[in-house]
């Protein structure tokens, strides 16, 4: 039982990172109906911002993270303004392809910075661990969970109560009606990208504090958010969070138990497990656990 609880705890910490990334995908999708494939690059560059301000400029970890969030948000807005705004009205497929191009360009630039060595960010809590009832979490894992929790709650409050949040919801619901009501739809698009950039920077920063730091192939981690958003529902913020946590937990539980109880599935089935869960969810709820069922009038 302790092993199971430990797997859930460890999976929650890893899933929290996926949740932040998934939130970025969903926020952009809700606002613009575009799936942004630039999120991996935003995550890597956000992590590199933190690394640079901490390791090169010598700033403490938390101010570095704060600056990285701001720069990540700024980068998100810049992408929206330069690459996507001019394409408003074009098919969303075209816009999605553009985000792939943006991702490639940004990752090329990031890889030039990364170079041969991994860019690892020293976490201020070191290897300190908290233990209770036979369970253990590192200082870093606790911080990831807490920061994600604060971020998600803040975001939910912002969208629920802030004027800009209300405008974002209106834009997500119906862009033309929102425009008719005086909402600056373009600004809402930019705001969505800014939030996604900031979230990606948080995720990237915590990945940079991991044992391996940021390498040229670290961007692949962001793709774990894809099954998360499908599981949770493409247009659901709470679905993104729950989907991200589900992916982290199912990965961890599979890693711990599958070799002993389901060995016929082969080694490293934990990599496939999130996608298996995604298929199961799609069979039961094609729009994800919390996604909106789409009805088209013919």
């Amino acid at each position: 039982m302790t092993t199971f609880a430990q797997a859930i705890l460890s999976g929650t910490a890893q899933g929290a990172i996926y949740a932040l990334l998934a939130l970025g995908f969903v926020i952009i999708y809700k606002a613009t109906h575009v799936i942004s494939f630039a999120q991996p690059a935003l995550m890597v560059i956000g992590g590199l911002f933190s690394y640079h301000f901490s390791a090169v400029f010598g700033l403490p970890f938390w101010p570095s993270l704060f600056i990285a969030i701001l720069l990540g948000a700024g980068l998100g807005m810049l992408i929206e303004r330069l690459a996507l705004r001019p394409m408003i009205g074009k098919p969303v497929f075209t816009l999605a392809i553009i985000t792939i191009g943006v991702d490639v360009v940004l990752r090329v630039l990031a890889n030039r910075y990364i170079g041969a060595d991994s860019r690892a960010l020293r976490y201020p809590g070191g290897s300190e661990r908290y233990e209770f009832l036979g369970l253990a979490l590192s200082h870093r894992q606790v911080t990831i969970i807490v920061v994600t929790l604060i971020t998600v709650v803040s975001l939910a409050l912002f969208i629920r109560y802030a004027k800009a949040g209300l405008a974002m919801r209106a834009t997500a619901l119906d862009q033309e009606t929102a425009l008719a009501q005086g909402v600056k739809v373009g600004a809402m698009f930019a705001l969505a990208w800014a939030i996604a950039g900031g979230l990606a920077a948080i995720a990237g920063t915590f990945i940079a504090t991991g044992s391996g730091g940021i390498e040229q192939d670290t961007w692949i981690i962001a793709l774990k958010a894809l099954p998360a958003i499908i599981i949770g529902g493409l247009d659901s913020l709470q679905g993104a969070v729950i989907g991200g946590l589900a992916v982290g937990i199912i990965e961890q539980i599979t890693a711990v138990y599958q070799a002993a109880y389901l060995p016929f599935l082969g080694t490293n089935f934990s990599l496939v497990a999130p996608y298996a869960l995604m298929f199961v969810v799609l069979l039961i709820r094609p729009y994800g656990l919390f996604g909106t069922k789409e009805v088209e009038r013919v």
Binding site: R122, G212, A255
Partner: protein, 434 residues
Amino acid sequence: MRKHGFLPKTLAGAAIAAFALTGCRDDGGGGGNGEDDAAGSGPGVSSDPCPDAVNEENGCITLGIITDLTDTFSAVAVPVTEAQEAFWQRVNEEGGIGGFDVQLVIADGEYDPQTTSQRYQEMRSDVLALAQALGSSQVMAILDDMRDDNVIAAPASWNSAWDFEPLIVESGANYCFEAMNGVDWALGERGPIESVMAIGYPTDFGEDAAYGAETAAEANAVEFTQITTPTGQDNQAEAISQVVQNDPDLIVITAGPTETATIVAGAAAEGWQGTAVGSSPTWNPGLLQSDAAPVLEERYFHASPWGPWDYESAGHEAMQEALGDVTPNFAYVMGWAWSYPMLAVLEHAAEMEGGITRENVVAAAEELEEVDYEGILPPEAGLRAGDPNETAYRASVINRVTADAPGGTEMEQDLTVGPTAESYDYSGPCAALD
């Protein structure tokens, strides 16, 4: 998995373009090149000087490099390639080989057999030999073509299969002997050790070392288990879980640096207290900045075929001088040391009748009895003429991680052949390559 490094690709593209435009071309055979002291002909050998030649009066030998500039091992391969560029530049500055300068054509094989094969097809008529071919299965993908072309290669890998392949001129102990020596060393220095777990990629790279670890474990009557693990630091949960559940006293890892750090630090965080020995490609000094650094300093040891960056040898000194102001990295030593056998082969071929040709280069490689590694390895490490069971070099080094040393490691044990490797009947490769 793909990564896209702008600079390396640009450099590679520029190198190939420069080669094509300036026409350091094959002179079509027939021997001779107009120079009194230069003899050679055929693909990759030209009487014209190399572009940007150090010695304008020399002809030009073109060597190919198919490496990984943008994928799994780019962090290692980029400095390896830079070291090889510095090595051959030094050769040119010292007068070249038999009246020829050497130029390199660098291509990105992306650590992919198919891409490696494609890159080889692009350069096969233009190169004399391959100064670097990275990866084991990648080399296997081009080996038949190399046989057809009479092209030899210096591998950027230490697979045991290379000892049985005449066209491959490897340097240092292979992964298999390295793992044997790692287990033997740990049994002596980190004991008591009653269980060993091999963790590696599900490739010939991982299998070669796993076989060595298993052989050493059996020889020492120690329990042995093996698991495979994929690439990616986010994909190591299962390996960590297996280490924690099985609680081996020693793990032998053959993976990339970040995977290694993630496994060792992750398992240690969950209570594992054993020792880890990683094969040559498992270390990157960038890990010293990660939160895994204290754990790695305490319980990770880097097995390698020769000494680290600051090892005292004329070869290390020459490498440091040639590279200039770079961040110390063991990968530079790898690239530099791997180049010596190719130099020895070319020098030997230059002395043969007909001079430097592909055929003579192959013959010279088969006759190689020693290589002057300038102290990085003893000359007999270059012995290739004879039965691999008699000639294969079996000694390796154990390094300890420390932030105080350049490159992040200092030598714990100099070149040593452990009892398992010494008595091993080497009648075939440890892991078969398909």
